[in-house]
Subunit: 476 residues, 4 copies
Amino acid sequence: MAGEAGMYNGLDDKMHEECGVFGIYDPEGKKDLVRLTYYALYALQHRGQESAGIAVSDGEKINVHKGMGLVPEVFSKEVLDSLKGKIAVGHVRYSTTGSTNIVNAMPLVVRYRKGSMALCHNGNLVNAFELRKEMEQQGTVFQTTIDSEVIANLIARGSNGIEEAVTQAMYRLKGSYALIIMTDDKLIGLRDPKGIRPLSLGKLDGAYVLASESCAFDTIGADFIRDVEPGEMIVIDENKIESKKVFNDVEKALCIFEFVYFARPDSIIDGSSVHMARLEAGRILAREHPADADLVIGVPDSGTVAAMGFAEESGIPFGIGLIKNRYIGRTFIQPSQVIRQLGVKLKLNALKSAVKGKRLVMVDDSIVRGTTSGQIVQMLKDAGAAEVHVRVSSPPITHSCYFGIDTSTRKELIGAQYSVEEICKHIKADSLGYLSLEGLIKSTGLPRETFCAGCFCGKYCIEVPGEGDKYLFEKC
Amino acid sequence: MAGEAGMYNGLDDKMHEECGVFGIYDPEGKKDLVRLTYYALYALQHRGQESAGIAVSDGEKINVHKGMGLVPEVFSKEVLDSLKGKIAVGHVRYSTTGSTNIVNAMPLVVRYRKGSMALCHNGNLVNAFELRKEMEQQGTVFQTTIDSEVIANLIARGSNGIEEAVTQAMYRLKGSYALIIMTDDKLIGLRDPKGIRPLSLGKLDGAYVLASESCAFDTIGADFIRDVEPGEMIVIDENKIESKKVFNDVEKALCIFEFVYFARPDSIIDGSSVHMARLEAGRILAREHPADADLVIGVPDSGTVAAMGFAEESGIPFGIGLIKNRYIGRTFIQPSQVIRQLGVKLKLNALKSAVKGKRLVMVDDSIVRGTTSGQIVQMLKDAGAAEVHVRVSSPPITHSCYFGIDTSTRKELIGAQYSVEEICKHIKADSLGYLSLEGLIKSTGLPRETFCAGCFCGKYCIEVPGEGDKYLFEKC
Amino acid sequence: MAGEAGMYNGLDDKMHEECGVFGIYDPEGKKDLVRLTYYALYALQHRGQESAGIAVSDGEKINVHKGMGLVPEVFSKEVLDSLKGKIAVGHVRYSTTGSTNIVNAMPLVVRYRKGSMALCHNGNLVNAFELRKEMEQQGTVFQTTIDSEVIANLIARGSNGIEEAVTQAMYRLKGSYALIIMTDDKLIGLRDPKGIRPLSLGKLDGAYVLASESCAFDTIGADFIRDVEPGEMIVIDENKIESKKVFNDVEKALCIFEFVYFARPDSIIDGSSVHMARLEAGRILAREHPADADLVIGVPDSGTVAAMGFAEESGIPFGIGLIKNRYIGRTFIQPSQVIRQLGVKLKLNALKSAVKGKRLVMVDDSIVRGTTSGQIVQMLKDAGAAEVHVRVSSPPITHSCYFGIDTSTRKELIGAQYSVEEICKHIKADSLGYLSLEGLIKSTGLPRETFCAGCFCGKYCIEVPGEGDKYLFEKC
Amino acid sequence: MAGEAGMYNGLDDKMHEECGVFGIYDPEGKKDLVRLTYYALYALQHRGQESAGIAVSDGEKINVHKGMGLVPEVFSKEVLDSLKGKIAVGHVRYSTTGSTNIVNAMPLVVRYRKGSMALCHNGNLVNAFELRKEMEQQGTVFQTTIDSEVIANLIARGSNGIEEAVTQAMYRLKGSYALIIMTDDKLIGLRDPKGIRPLSLGKLDGAYVLASESCAFDTIGADFIRDVEPGEMIVIDENKIESKKVFNDVEKALCIFEFVYFARPDSIIDGSSVHMARLEAGRILAREHPADADLVIGVPDSGTVAAMGFAEESGIPFGIGLIKNRYIGRTFIQPSQVIRQLGVKLKLNALKSAVKGKRLVMVDDSIVRGTTSGQIVQMLKDAGAAEVHVRVSSPPITHSCYFGIDTSTRKELIGAQYSVEEICKHIKADSLGYLSLEGLIKSTGLPRETFCAGCFCGKYCIEVPGEGDKYLFEKC
């Protein structure tokens, strides 16, 4: 998917709605919690570049700072110094919905009858609209368009303590949520009953930490304990850490795209190394779609590891054929009409000396619209490549996803409209091969029933309101 | 009150929690609504310098832009150009509560079951806490600390159309509110049943406008129609403008501080010219507290007009004795410890050539803490003034106010703790005279029963929860 | 001149190229020099709002910080804290030349064979172009368009010590200059042989200070010692303060516009109080051009004092008829085409209650183009004024000035093209009267030979290259 | 050198003073020159992240915009749109000298007797101090600390046309310079007689382009023509392009660090592919210092390619063992004292699943201080690596460089103080091997006499003033 979308929008070219969440509870209050949260969010920056925020509870009240942009852009030394407390939560957000509005930044901090709470959510509720309408009928107002506000309202309606209230809310929520909630004196982590989005638990000396990905633990020197389980609620307070299985009979449905693209390679998700899975995907891809070629190259950065796996398995040498400019940023200015044709050149450059006269295997992690893939194939041929055999380390994306990938309409998905043969023609590749879904699942080393792969097979793990029986409650 | 407080905080040195509101409905949609709102807010800037915001409805959805700072700081040309619609509302806010947080900026835009609405509020609810608690008990969450959020939640609970919902809400609200509400297709203005805060109605060609003060109409070339009446609701839609008296048996209680300090002199409030009232206050002050002096000077800017009235009535020449630096801004840096003694000199300078050897009458509009007044007296004496007779064009502030003036604790109010004689000694004036409340009321030309003067007499127009019978429901 | 120009450009509406300079030498090094300079520049802000800068010498090297904008915008607490030393100089600059470029901001800091120096210049060299060409012929390069760079190059060419080098430079410079130079260990102030621009010397405990106007001394608590004399060089070092008369046979030619408009009223220039001069100008104006009227009002802020003088002398009451919005700033956005007609209303508002039915005398300090004056007259009539008699407290500006007033072309000067009668018609006043040059000079209490009044009479104090004998070396 | 320095300062961790230069002349004036320059600078961003600037000549005058930060931070759409012309030059600058001052940003634009010129310099003059002193003696002032100002002054002194003046200047300059000069109507490129810094010539339709590296041509779609030769001056004007060999008897001395680290891998320098050279360096390194290991990993990004070469040659598999965070930026906040130990973890993370139990070869491009290398070795061992054999694809840096590498003092250079054995112990590697200088030179495929390798051998290509005969005028 590298280079497929958002060419001039960001440091990265993701095309999805993803977030990173983090929380820490330090009962002794001796750590520089806010800086640790800052560094953890920085480690999760790949999950969201649109906005960032940190909320801190000092036991009595919650203070929050959030803003548009990357973590280092949002937080100044002065701001970090001004936030003090024993519990902290943080959030990075990416959104392609166009609602690049500060009002939608997280953590969302609300006051309700039991005190205050801050919410950090990664995921997508499929019944957010329904719940919102239902609560609006009861006279509730909404100030944002984010699911967290719906969740906060549900929790606030709950009876008894926060844990019960959260439990009751979880019974109403449908969709994906890796959620971290901070109250005045508790840190709560929960994962939806399918475990669609990842959430990990770790420890840093006497403090407990929660994070979307384990790479955040490595960055701040914390030890990984385990993944939060689907349907599980973790409650950390001054004296203890407790686990509650809110849903016992869970049927796991981890989003397989975490392995394809979302997660950082140095993270371990539900026991499987993302890097190792991508490497293995490349190996399997080589077996499924061998190619007669001189050099295997990856489309940086996301295709590189699978390319290495492909090379290893095929025996064709691995090499670098494309150089990516590391400095593209949010404010990068688009080419004017006069120089529009520059396109992907502003971001990638073919390494002529490496590809000239070579028959190439070019590996990418996915193809969304196909436009950029075609431009890269052309660039490689212009640089003298004799042949370009495109290999993709995931299956064609044939269906829109409701739980995170922002491939909003089917029309944009080249995999939904055209056959592999047609796509090959379209991008002018000499051959094109996609990894099978079976191969992709196998690459993770996890059982088939672990995953939701709806974007590849159309069978989603959760019934989507308004989509009738199109999205069956079954695995493909 | 000039120079009394906030010396280094702002372009102005007000010590109150005040706001300015504005709304315009242009059924033909031909006007540059957003720029008109921008200029109107700029005309109301004296009512709030902390944050500014504009919301626009294009008939289907409401877009909003708000930020911390002065109107020209918050809005760029790009932002103004990006907001389009047929209805617009705007808000400027001042707050000394320390919650200088963007989340509290207005307009507050919410979605509820009937659509969207934007609220702009000037005033202070005395039962906001109660209402908030009550709604929290029903499971409502609050994201801000502003009264508008309470009001929005009340309205959202209402049955039937927006007008009924607003009416029902008004029955629940206690306190001061000059409120402008924009829905997708209506512009609504309302004023609390006491009319504590001002609100005016005007017309600009085919468009209707609402504003805190009539000076906003002058700035954008609109014609003043009339004040919105206490307890009245004005509803403007595409076809008509309607008035509804929500409360019929109203007992007016306009905040008299609008005449003392809040309002711009070129505004007409409830039929009385603010400038003329201040001039007359000076004249009456001269009669109540004559002085044997050579020159009458005002403390700029707020004491100038009353000084002119004092001079006229007393026959003592009016002159300028203090020069105010016009450039102090939000970011002005406070003196370090080493040069702390500079104090008021950074803002005001005595005009030696004018005051040397003179017996002065120095007129100010009010005294809050007394610190600055003392410094100014000293400055004038250092500049060679033979005598400084301080005259204040309002009575001693003896009571905290719940409806706008942020004299949060009695302890800070020098008028609440000391006698006039003691204050005179404290500020080292040669004599000190305050205008009587009777005189102040007389200066406005309005009947005594028009006003709430609780800060001067301790008898507030509304029962304040938690203050027992201290704040009687009567006029002083 | 208030409102005449730059309506939407600045906090002020000056139409000239003026600057403010300041310097301080604290041999003991115990003062917070940089903050004192910051406050002094803030007191001189009226002389320049485009850019600001402070340079500090710690005895070994010079550090500088400068930027575009007002003093509080350019300097953060962090920056102030980072600058340390025993000598400091500061500058505020205003420019209408369009070269709003940071490269032209002062102080200009250069390294030359004897060390470093920082220059702060207020004035205008008439032979800058010549000197520049001459030095360019010798291979000199120029990086800015400011006169200071020419001066720095001249000084750097000088032989022997800095004092001799400066002296030699002064012999070459033609035009106006109030100049403050800081070397690694000296603070030097000089004023051109005509004394066209003001420069004052003061003392703050053991430290000596130099400033464009004495109001800067009042602000920082320094005592005024005396004006630097025309052609004088003041040299302050660790041990002593020395005066050197570089030109003995000087013929003074202080720019009379300092009294009309440039200087702050609380400054004393060459022994005369600016405020008192403006008041007296109003009195003389009343005698020269009496009017049969009910009320005298000033155009704020610059016409107010003269209006008071006019009222006093004429016996007609003084009042406020126009309210000025205090909040206009650099970033204020101009009206779009649709609402262009708002014009002066965005800045000034007529006080209907005060002017209705009245025959007014409206006093302003000067008229440049006449456009705004016409708008104000109209605004007053729209507000119900029966008659508007315009009185101007200076003569018609008939000639462009080469030493500070940026009335770049004659074409813009209404006073250069039309008779008083025609101007009266153009601005639709009921009558129009300008103060005579004689009256203006008299108002200052200084002898006629003190001033250059070239803009009023066309006879400049210095021969202007390329203007032939049009600008005679004589007084009018 | 990755991770060695500037850990929290920049997007990159270079430790040198390097720049990127670019120029374009479009005689037809139909191209969007400024955007092309913007994209070219963006392609050269790796050569300098401190400041960026673009100057444009419209034939009559030169306009310039420069600022601190990355290219997209310095230029807004508005600024790009405001710059128009037929010739443009651009510059990106990196500096560790601490003089992060806007006054030192390039292009430097000066006016001199023949008109205007803009200079963009990459390199380091060794006689800048001498030349500066000499010119200061003649009365010249300097406003910056950059060599360009010295060069501009030299050129301005030159007689006859610009070409002669530049030629004369080149005879005086000692040191490295890849220089692009724009006058009102000419674009001139020159390279010092040793060719220490690279400079390439290209063509884009009818327009000629000059750039530090050929990757800039690829980005804007221009064709590479050839390298500018040592001692060559290229003059492009409206009608022609001319080459002049200012020095005929040149002895080439290209900085070998361009191949080790500075240049982007997709650039071709003096005929040799940077990427291919690095790959080959890895291969030779494997032969010179083989290791008995399971996996070869590179320190990202700079060690990756050599690691691939090492793997290929040794037959040991290549893999990824370290993940680099892509989002570190200029404003990244350093860890507080409490969490200082995080160190390199904030930027790099070991891939446990890949390195656990493995005997690793860890390849980096260079070692400067050794601190970070030690931290990375430790991180890999903490992640479970059985052994870590460090291989460096360049020789130990034993000498400070005067022409670009900012290894200001010998003390910091671990290679200058310790033996390889001692360094190995210091960084706690299981073995350590550096590529020989011979091997490094061989990797480039260019003859030995092509290079200056003074930092590795102490024999610099140019006599350095004040260093006596220590820096001989010979090749090692």
